[in-house]
């Protein structure tokens, strides 16, 4: 992905507290973002991805309606969404599922609980280590 002065980020998590927490951590990390969108499940996230230009999806795995695994695989398999980078941000203990998603196209994985610094590193890894202040 080419680094730009700001990224559009989509936070997908069924916990409104965690969505707000991640939004806060992104702000405290000094990342320059264009827009931060939120969705509470995979289905709503896919609908939003069809309407908005999103660069990075922060995907929880365990969610009602459509979970993060199915959502991520649909993103990986959609030719129109190959520019979207998915980072799995989850408490899910299923290591096989995580590895399978990384092999299928996820650009990173961050286990909950995470520190703001770990979160920042995960985002930096995805955007190539280049951050415009």
């Amino acid at each position: 992905m080419t680094a730009t002065p700001g990224h559009n980020i989509l936070i997908v998590d069924d916990s409104s507290t965690t969505r707000a927490f991640i939004r806060r951590v992104i702000g405290l990390s000094g990342f320059q973002t264009k827009e931060i969108y939120e969705a509470s499940d995979g289905k709503k996230a896919l609908e939003l991805l069809n309407q908005q230009a999103v660069d990075i999806v922060l995907a929880d795995l365990q969610m009602p309606e459509m979970d993060g695994e199915e959502m991520s695989r649909r993103i990986f398999n959609d030719p129109t969404k190959q520019h979207v980078s998915v980072i799995v941000v989850s408490a899910d203990p299923n290591e096989q599922k995580i590895q399978s998603l990384l092999q299928a196209g996820a650009k990173g994985y961050l286990a909950k609980p995470f520190t703001p610094e770990a979160f920042r590193k995960a985002l930096l890894n995805v955007i190539g280590g280049v951050q415009h202040a």
Binding site: S16, T17, F21, D92, P93, A111, P113
Partner: protein, 150 residues
Amino acid sequence: MLEALNQFALESLADSFETMAFMSPNLAEEPYEPPTNAVLLSLKFANGSCGTVEMVASRNLGKVAASNMLGDDLQSPAQHDDALKELLNIFGGLMLRRWTSQSRETIRMSLPQMREFDTLAEWSAFIASPGTTVLNVEGNVVAMRVRSCG
């Protein structure tokens, strides 16, 4: 299995609360006062090992946790409950990751559930059950245990 899981549970709860909500749990001193306006949170896991992680806490703990996580006091009661469920989800997941790193199992974990907890009717039996740990999380009493299936 249960003894190891309970040990992982204690460490994982402490790590999760400290990292996400900036709260430090300590072992509570007896006699254990029941939490007021309490809820029972539970999370099931299955596949190789099978069981339930349970946590009894006051709604006030959710209020403090949400406030710490978000840096303000503007959350609704629904978000206080959501913060409690998310903390259980995170601590349960961390506990199971630590367990499966030893056991090499693949474990599935459910979404957390929450219901009202009647402290008058349920507290004594809950804290008397084997493996239960009672904690003081910055003035809030929390009881937690791991139960195996069957």
